[in-house]
C-alpha cells in the first residue's frame, strides 16, 4: 500500500526524531520537523492506518460475521464519502449526537456484534477504531466541513461545547480559550489556532486524525482532546464523553465550509 519507497526512509527518520527530541533544542527540533514535513508531503505514514481501516470496513468480522458496509455514518447505510466532514451529528437509533469514533463503536455493535473495548487509546479494539477513522477521514479529503445543526440535540451540543470551551478550572485556571481564543499567539514556538474563528477552527477540526512525528502515533480527535485536557491540568476526559462530543460539535460548526485536510502530519 506504500505508494513511495521514500516512506521507509521517513519512517526511520520519524523514529530517530522521536528519540532525539527531548535532548534537542526546540528550534533545532522545529527545523528538523519542517524538513521532515517536506519529505513526507507526498506520503503521510497515516496511509498505513488508512489501508488497514479500509480493510476493516470491508471485512466480515465479529459474532455476526458481518462487515461495516451497512453502517450508517449519517449519510445513509454504507456511505463513507463526506461522512467525516458532517460529524458529529444526531443518530436516531442511539438517540444521541455521536462523533466518528463513537459512531463506529455503535456500528461495530449493531452490525458485527462486537462490544468494542475502546476506553484506552490504541489498546484493544481502539486500534481498529483509529484505523477506520483514518480511512473514513481520507475519503472526505478536500470536502468542506458541514456539521449539521438541524436537530435540537445538535444545537444543544454546540451550545454545551461553546460553554465547555470557555470553562476555566483546574490548578492553573485554564480553559480551552486560554490558549485558543486569540490570533497570532504561541506557546514557546508552537503557533496556537484561534478556535473561535472560522478558518483556524475548520483547519484544526480537520487536522485530526493526524500522524504525530514526535511519537509515531496516529491520533484521532478524541485522543487530541484528551491530551489538551491533560495539559490543561484537568482530570481525565473519558472516551466518547459529552464534553468531547460537544467540543467537536463547537469546532466543527465554527469551522463550517473549510476544506478537510485529514489525515495530516503533526509535530
Amino acid at each position: 500500500m506504500l505508494r513511495k519507497p521514500i516512506q521507509r526512509v521517513v519512517l526511520g527518520l520519524a523514529v530517530g526524531l522521536s528519540s532525539g527530541l527531548p535532548a534537542m533544542a526546540q528550534t533545532d527540533a522545529e527545523k528538523a520537523i519542517d524538513r521532515y514535513r517536506e519529505l513526507v508531503a507526498d506520503g503521510n505514514p497515516a496511509e498505513l492506518w488508512e489501508a488497514k481501516g479500509e480493510d476493516l470496513w470491508k471485512k466480515k468480522r465479529g459474532p455476526k460475521n458481518a462487515s461495516l458496509e451497512k453502517c450508517d455514518l449519517g449519510l445513509g447505510p454504507g456511505v463513507v464519502k463526506g461522512a467525516y466532514v458532517s460529524l458529529p451529528r444526531y443518530f436516531d437509533d442511539v438517540k444521541k449526537v455521536q462523533d466518528l469514533e463513537t459512531r463506529l463503536v455503535s456500528c461495530m455493535d449493531q452490525h458485527q456484534g462486537i462490544k468494542a473495548k475502546v476506553a484506552n487509546y490504541d489498546r484493544d479494539d481502539h486500534k481498529d477504531v483509529i484505523s477506520l477513522v483514518a480511512w473514513i477521514a481520507s475519503e472526505s479529503r478536500g470536502m468542506p466541513v458541514n456539521v449539521p445543526q438541524s436537530h435540537p440535540e445538535e444545537k444543544r451540543m454546540y451550545e454545551v461545547g461553546k460553554r465547555v470551551f470557555f470553562y476555566r478550572a483546574g490548578p492553573y485556571d485554564f480553559a480551552c480559550a486560554t490558549c485558543h481564543a486569540a490570533d497570532n499567539t504561541r506557546i514557546r514556538l508552537q503557533g496556537l489556532p484561534n478556535l473561535t474563528n472560522n478558518e483556524p477552527a475548520g483547519k484544526a477540526f480537520t487536522s485530526w486524525p493526524a500522524y504525530r512525528v514526535s511519537n509515531s502515533q496516529l491520533w484521532p480527535m478524541q485522543k487530541r482532546l484528551e491530551d489538551c485536557f491533560r495539559q490543561q491540568r484537568f482530570p481525565y476526559v473519558e472516551f466518547g464523553s459529552d464534553v468531547t462530543i460537544a467540543l467537536s460539535s463547537y469546532m466543527g460548526v465554527t469551522g463550517k465550509g473549510v476544506k478537510s485536510l485529514a489525515p495530516t502530519i503533526k509535530r
Binding site: 451550545e159 485556571d173 506557546i187 514556538l189 464523553s241
Partner: protein, 207 residues
Amino acid sequence: MRKSTLLMAGISFALAGCATMYSAVELDKMAKEAVEKSFAAKGIAKKERINQDAINLACTNAELTKTPLSGEATRKLEAAEYQAIKYPADGKFLGDWKAGEKLAQDGRGSTYSDSASVPNGGNCYNCHQISKEEISHGTLGPSLYNFGKLRGNSEAVVKYTWGKIYNAKAFNACTNMPRFGHQGILTENQMKDLMALLLDPASPVNK
C-alpha cells in the same frame, strides 16, 4: 383540533427563531452537568479539579458572553484575591536568578502523567519572553525582558512583583496567568528564585 394545530405551528415557529429549545441558564446547567459526567480522577489529577471558584466562574461567563465584568465586580474579585496574598515570612523576596532561569524553562508538572514527588516548573517561557538568549518563548503574555531594569527594585516594585507571581488575578481578575502561590503550584523558595530572575541586576533579564 384546528386550534391545537395552530398552536403547534406557533410553537414550532417560535422554536425556529431561537438557537435552541433551551434558555442560556438551562444550557449553562447542562454544560456543568456534562463536565461533571465527562471527567474522572487519574493519577494526581483529582476529580475536584473541575470545580470552579468564584473568579473562574465569573471570568468564564464574561468570556462566554463577551460581556466584560463590571467595574464593581472586578474590584470585589480582585480585592478578595489580593487579601489572600502571602508574603515571604522572612521578609526576603529575592533568591537565586540561576535557579529561577531553570525554573522558568521548566513547563512540566501537575498533569495526570506527572508524579506528585516532582516539583512543578514555572512554565514562564511557555508564554513570556524573559531573557534575550532564549528565543523559544511564547507570546500569550507580555515580554518580561528588562523587567527589573525598567522598574528598579524599590520596595513597592518588589512587593508588586511578588503579588503578581503569587496571584496575578489580584491585579487583573480575568488574566490568563495561573496563580502560582495561591494555587500552591510553586513553593515560596521557587517564587523567590523567579523574583531574582526578574529583579536581580545580575540576571540576564536585566542586561
